[in-house]
Symmetry: D2
Subunit: 371 residues, 4 copies
């Protein structure tokens, strides 16, 4: 069983020509695609429609090649997009594929392993509550099983997409005599991301037991996962999970590593995660090593205390530019500078995803000896 990752450019949010070319020429079998993670050039906010536009275009193209309705593909293949290519960032997407059979016995070296899972639909009244945390944890364990990863320490990145509370969902809950945790949909997104992150932390053993669950959400930021990347949106009604790790049951050419970032200036974490994969970056990754890189995945946030290492920042009080856009541009510029490449997947809203005010970075690269 072999996982591969193809990092492809898009000329605009409805451009999937790079993937279609690979499918047509046989480099990628359409039915081997198990997940997509990408960045589109919208504003990354509630009214960013570039994510939906790309997804519609992609699923339409795959539907033609697979002879399967786009609607079903949407339920089967997680397509996680982050809007916003601020600063130097380049719109792109990473296609994750899975081919061949699993090894019967574990091999000597571990390779990139990919697993996915979909939970049952989450009831509106459960969103952002303990049941949500535990539901995510269960789905993460299922995705680990799907990826044939036994040990939590071998998981390096978990991408979650989970539902939020809309006006309609709040009404539906009320009609059943239930109450929702908040009827403010923006706040429900933040709480849902928090629940997703602590669900990952729970599944990966990153929390002391027992932990206080729901009361910790958006309150106790000393609790976090160093491997969770969570988004929340109205377009899903269940938790979608992509688990990326290394496993000796897999035999592909890639590996993954990760590091927490303690703040938006934590260049050390970037250098370290590359070093974990045998890649030097002092100060910048060289051309040869750079050709081994297949994905750089980052989570970050504007420090909620209003300063970074003692100096005031202005991201949170800017009426003109959203704070998440600010921080993606800055941290994206830093990571791109170290890597020497602007194709960085970087996403804001990092509640409980890495240290407070920081975030995390994961990198997929070709194994040195293979390259």
């Amino acid at each position: 069983m072999r996982a591969d990752a193809f990092r492809l450019p898009m000329a605009h949010p409805s451009d999937v020509s790079a993937l279609e070319a690979l499918v047509v020429q046989g480099s990628v079998a359409a039915d081997s695609i198990v997940a997509i993670i990408g960045k589109t050039e919208g504003n990354g906010g509630v009214n960013d429609f570039t994510r939906g536009y790309f997804t519609q275009t992609l699923m339409g193209m795959l539907a033609r090649h697979l002879g399967e309705p786009a609607r079903l593909l949407l339920e089967r293949i997680p397509c996680v997009l982050s809007g916003g290519t601020e600063g130097v960032l380049s719109p792109h997407y990473v296609v994750l594929t899975r081919t061949g059979e699993s090894k019967r016995e574990p091999g000597k070296t571990a390779s990139l392993a990919v697993g996915t899972a979909m939970s049952h639909p989450v009831s509106p009244e459960d969103i952002g509550r303990s049941a949500h945390i535990h539901g995510v944890a269960t789905a993460v364990r299922a995705a680990m099983h799907d990826a044939r990863i036994d040990a939590a320490r071998d998981v390096h990145f978990v991408q979650i997409k989970c539902p939020c509370i809309t006006a309609a969902r709040a009404e539906a809950a009320k009609a059943r005599g239930k109450t929702v945790i908040t009827s403010d949909s923006n706040r429900s997104m933040a709480i849902a991301r928090a629940a997703g992150a602590l669900g990952v932390a729970l599944a990966l053993g990153e929390l002391e037991q027992p932990f206080d669950g729901e009361p910790a959400l958006l309150q106790n930021f000393s609790l976090y996962s160093t491997r969770a990347s969570v988004s929340s949106g109205i377009e899903v009604d269940r938790n979608e999970v992509i688990v990326l790790g290394n496993s000796r049951y897999w035999s592909g050419p890639l590996q993954i590593a990760h590091r927490p970032m303690r703040d938006a200036l934590d260049i050390g974490a970037i250098v370290d995660v590359l070093h974990d994969l045998g890649i030097g970056a002092l100060p910048q990754v060289g051309a040869e090593d750079r050709s081994r890189l297949r994905a750089v995945l980052v989570k970050c946030e504007p420090d909620r205390r209003g300063h970074i290492r003692g100096h005031r920042h202005t991201m949170l009080d800017d009426t003109d530019i959203n704070a998440q856009r600010h921080v993606r541009g800055a941290v994206g510029g830093l990571v791109a500078g170290v890597v020497g490449d602007t194709r960085i997947f970087i996403s804001g809203g990092a509640e409980h995803q890495g240290p407070d005010g920081g975030g995390l970075i994961a990198v997929i690269a070709q194994i040195a000896s293979v390259g």
Copy 2:
């Protein structure tokens, strides 16, 4: 003769309390202040009034302490502000002071030297033309003389503020039977910046002789200065010049170095300029060295060809966020990450100021042996 540099925080654009405290407690003599370079938290565009607000507040405060009208201070002390603290950047200002007498004979080591000059008013019809280029060159040479810097190679950073063409100025020129190079004031700012940059390049011997002058402006981007940082605005009618370099006639505790940046990812230039000052940054400047830093000055621009190292960026086509804001946030994030400090002076609009698509970086730091 001794130059010093004080890097001070501002809580908002009318906060000069940090400088006033130094003046009151006697750490800075108000009459020793020769120039200010700073970043305020506006949008950096035509309708950024934070620069004027800070200047008015600063000059009002100095006027009280010096017993000299603010109007006269404005004509004597260049106050160059760049708006826009995108991403992690922190609003701050660097106060440059000059105390004592010049040495009669050059000493063994060179120290930071500061010189300023004001040209005669520039006629509207000359703005962005060969006369403008030569006028800036003359003023730069005067500021070098003021700084007692003999050799062009000892100049490391030249900050210019020069006038642009407004509707009123175009009318005035017309009334005298003259024509202006453009009546589009935004375009006139870009041409004025270009003329300023090539004026610096001319004064510093960075151009092959003879060079074609006016036709090169905004056309031949292979011509540039690696030490020019130019802004243009309606608020000045003459060229204001600040020259920063090292000179053996000065005996202060600081030195300056600079490097061109070839593009927005050129982390090597950042590491190199720090190394020039004996400061290691692999990957980040340590706490002790960081305390030696007094100013980090950067010029950058969104690559006009629409891609960086082969990958598309989206800065130039964004209707929501100005391209200069995008690039300041990204390059600012990179420099701040290497330095470990968010107080970076960074300015866009880098026509002919460093390589096309790149820019330059200069750093002022305490001399190692002194520190």
Copy 3:
């Protein structure tokens, strides 16, 4: 022959459910649809992808119902979208349909007539030049013929979408030994819109003969059409034309009227165009009359001289919000207030489309006696 217009809401840019419901229930025959004009909730600029997203979704839906490839529908059915629902404006689209046979003889009353035309592809070297103006004029005459409108005075609104110059198109022209009028794509859009507008003016007899053609573009703003609404984009390679007027060969329930707007405050024009259709608006259209309205179509622009009736506006110098967004919000608020309805199609970039600094308004409504 009967033209109808359906004004439909969209919940987001990929929501065509309102039209699909009408198709499914038989209220609209899919093959009767001849044009769509709508407003989507993007930023209206170069990086507004909501227009493409809506078009892709709409054509996909119609393709399913018509059994015809979306690609062919795109070439046959003009779908003109303006991005930007600033202020009170509501995302919506107007579907124009055409059913039945033309009358042999003109009837007593004139009804709404709809005609469309597509020109041949415009060579890049012709864009924004006299050939472009004349090409548009020819296409407008073809669309008038298609609409069976004989007299120019019976035309009340002409929507044009015409190509602009992209880097690739400029290269292609160069390879053939041709030069393009500008290689700045934003400027080429403005010139193309200007050429489109004067092409309409030429076809409708609104210009004195002979007129100076290309030199007038973006220069002589005393030349304009009071009935042209032009957009320009990279997604088309030819001139697409929708002509709306009244004709006695048609027998539907609708009529159209139009008025030039002299500036952004010209409430008189709004009241007058409604009065032309027998609708009172002093100060606001009443509920009954409002139910007769089927489309309100507006063109406007921020006055390039920087003031409106003697007072300074700040639209042109705002680095945070694009000037077209500003003016759409303001004029949209005014028109919506008079009409009592926020479903206003309003588009910026009104070069030569109505008086300089103003624009125009057209309204489609049910004929009073019919209602």
Copy 4:
């Protein structure tokens, strides 16, 4: 006693030359100025510094002419600025003056009356609570007394500026063993505005007695004042009040009227308030009547339910442009169109200030017979 109002242009936020010219030529006595209400061209948000810049410049100028420290003027003369000149709006300020002695006996006709008051500093723990509501009511009554207005029905516009909760203020309260209603400073501004509005309503008898006070704030939007315009900011520590009404003890040439606006399309309210002053506007105020206008004051808000008269708006979900900027541009465009003048004072954040989703309008004009 005579109140006058001077509506003056500003070329930028530090331009007070129009007022200084009136002072120098003797048309306005500097010591007659009792309040200023104006619009500056910032973004109207937390990081809008144009308000402070204008105030600093204005008070500096008045200090020179009055020989009184600017600091004291700030405590004596309310200067209420709203940032944001979206769309057609023109930056301007209205200077309110008061000259002569009060009449002993009321005259036959009522004239514009102006009164001001400053409350004691509001404790942080009281902000947004019942004590705040009552404190504002008391200050409004004091300002009515200052204006010699006896009857609440003669009050037509009350401008309030009240403090919000900052991190520092919350700490201070905590240190005294008190709790604040919220530590989110943005939310505290909204609650403070709500308390200010209901304080005005209480003073003007617009609330049924007894009313539930604090629990109504931001909850029960059926409670409101039709004459309150409230802003909240960190720059004040007490409630500043300007009361405008008509009184027979005054003898000036001006009068004021007001109307609630039921939503952002309520053109009827605009026409009605003009009619109250004998000014026709069908559809637009004529040149002669327009010369009688001295101030147009508007409060508005984006409907929190997401639709206006049944149609969806997109203001609340826009990540690029703040919702208050959207609505100011739209309603400003409507009012300016009816009035035929773009100098409209318009402010967002209209919680409990007019009907939910609407707001209010007040107009100061020369009395017809006097004109």
